[in-house]
Symmetry: none
Subunit: 207 residues, 4 copies
Amino acid sequence: MRSESESPGQKGRTFIEEARRRQIIEAAVEVIAEQGYLKASLAKIAERAGISKGVISYHFDGKDDLLHQLVIQLYIAGGEFMAPRIDAAEGAWPKLRAYLESNFEFIGQHRTYLRVFVDVIGNLRDQDGMLHFRDMQENADVLDPLVELLEEGQQTGEFAEFDVRMTAMFIRDTIDGLAGRVSRTEDFDMERYSRAAVEATARMVCR
Amino acid sequence: MRSESESPGQKGRTFIEEARRRQIIEAAVEVIAEQGYLKASLAKIAERAGISKGVISYHFDGKDDLLHQLVIQLYIAGGEFMAPRIDAAEGAWPKLRAYLESNFEFIGQHRTYLRVFVDVIGNLRDQDGMLHFRDMQENADVLDPLVELLEEGQQTGEFAEFDVRMTAMFIRDTIDGLAGRVSRTEDFDMERYSRAAVEATARMVCR
Amino acid sequence: MRSESESPGQKGRTFIEEARRRQIIEAAVEVIAEQGYLKASLAKIAERAGISKGVISYHFDGKDDLLHQLVIQLYIAGGEFMAPRIDAAEGAWPKLRAYLESNFEFIGQHRTYLRVFVDVIGNLRDQDGMLHFRDMQENADVLDPLVELLEEGQQTGEFAEFDVRMTAMFIRDTIDGLAGRVSRTEDFDMERYSRAAVEATARMVCR
Amino acid sequence: MRSESESPGQKGRTFIEEARRRQIIEAAVEVIAEQGYLKASLAKIAERAGISKGVISYHFDGKDDLLHQLVIQLYIAGGEFMAPRIDAAEGAWPKLRAYLESNFEFIGQHRTYLRVFVDVIGNLRDQDGMLHFRDMQENADVLDPLVELLEEGQQTGEFAEFDVRMTAMFIRDTIDGLAGRVSRTEDFDMERYSRAAVEATARMVCR
DNA sequence: TATGAATGAGCGTTCATTCAT
DNA sequence: TATGAATGAACGCTCATTCAT
């Protein structure tokens, strides 16, 4: 039943087991949100979930695996939330705008989750001390869709000439910046940030 | 020998003590850079510095104090590097450009240090679980100079109309984004990022 | 499993846990008896009990809790030993005599435990540096029953006139004195002390 | 300059050195009075005395030696205070009364010192875990003068028949009891205790 | 004599993990 | 499946002691 030795997805898992896993991840999110990555011990997570410590070991291949799943879960959820909204838009700028706005909206709807997300991906490391999700933030999955969007806009003439890869990064920085601010500031004014970010991005990329 | 109970500056410390403190902070930087905040124990730091664990306790008021000093040291160094470069520029846009470029240059010169900086300010918490440097990222010290610069540019007509506070945040996000990328990617092309960031900012703020 | 957060008594504890707790307390008694409060580390106690250090933390809420339980356990055992003997006597002097003799007998039966008891209540302090059991030695629980006994004897005319509260203290001093002597002298002649103490007290309080 | 390797008394010590030793002992008394034996580190004692830690090591053969001297100093001071008062009295009961009252008076004048005394003799142990001053409390020095006094009174017919050695212990218990109460209770009414103790002793020993 | 610096052992505690039941 | 119990290593920290200056 170890998640890392299974094929991806939910194959081989009963409905009950999936429920347990989600329950444990939820508890982990709550504990990390309140106490931070460092102080989030399995004991506290188990207590929050109302189960014994051993259950976590049973369902996950250790603490790292649990946190790995936690990150992946939110990552997938984010993708599933944004994809249809972006697809629904037509034209490069409307799509980019949808990308930004749906991202912001998702962050707003998962503030607590985001705070935990930021905390975990900044700390979860393998045995060599390398960040587990170092690649995820830099590589294709995150940046490429944005790069394609920008290139598309340049080809259609909607967008000005600029270094697309770098500009994709700036846009990501603005989104990650919001995630960070939201995790640090309880009552951060997301609406205002979102509106201004869309305008700033428009000035930055549109002709 | 407690750093927190001392008056600011280096008063009351001997030369040799200052050297030891720097040596210990350097060792801490190296260990955190390689293994991350979580795994950076005093034992490892002491071993790296070639001293015994007790020496750290002797020179610092505990682990938190050591990390606090580490952050402050880089923070001050950054300010001292950038201030004259910004002051030397005349006009809102040249000043903003100097702000960006000196910031980027400083980050480039302290890549390892920066990686550690990001790690520590994201993890160092006080007894209530609050991030020690949460304010530092959000408050006046960091954002206000930028806000003033933008307002100045709007008054002189150099800059377009936009939400200055939010725009200041976007600019910070780009800088913090670089810090993050530099900490994650060994051979990140800073030159290209820097050049593109200056151009993007220009499009974003200038008329 | 934290003893301080549990309701009084043994509710919520399994039989096996109670056995472990008793075993650990016994080991603590032995170590403190031999090496004294100061040198009695959890490591030594665990070694004596033949378990690992962590087990103590698992069953007690820290070292202070363990020692607290140790004291309370003997305190309660003493009360349970003496109470029926005192109740069985009729008349103020017979009751006082039973108080003394049952106290002496209990001390004699728990010489080692008493040595430890004296050591712990003289050293165990809370975070403010105040002795945990300072009150226990001075307050109602210990002195009041004795005061009542003496007042009763004065009302029935069995006892002479004297300062009852102070006299209660002198009687306690004699008992505590025995506890101290027993802890210091391996082969102290308790019988002789007990007999002489009863006689001396009779001369002191009876008409 | 190590005290244990020197002959007793002050031979071989300069006036300045004696002053330093007294100063250090005073500082130790203050620290132990406030924080208790356990938390009284040499660092705190040195800080209180306004000197560096090393000085203590220079003047005393380690912490144990310092505390040893501390106890002896008060012990001698007590003897010097009481002896002339007892000698001045004539007759067994007046002498015993002077013994009690001068003892009480001395305790009253050195409440803080006494608290420390009780703390130290209860904790200071040699390497085998034996109390350093175990004998002092039980042997000739403390008990014999009292025994002689009681025997004298019995021979002159002033005192009744009783077990003198045990009775000497009861009297010591009352004195030690006061020392303990004074150390535990800030505003303990010594006058009342003293008066009642003299009366109670009279009833206990006089015909 | 006195000091600041350093040591190294030991402290109480936390925690991910294992395992018999 | 789930649990309570136990482990053992690592943690930050304290402290008596040593020593070159």
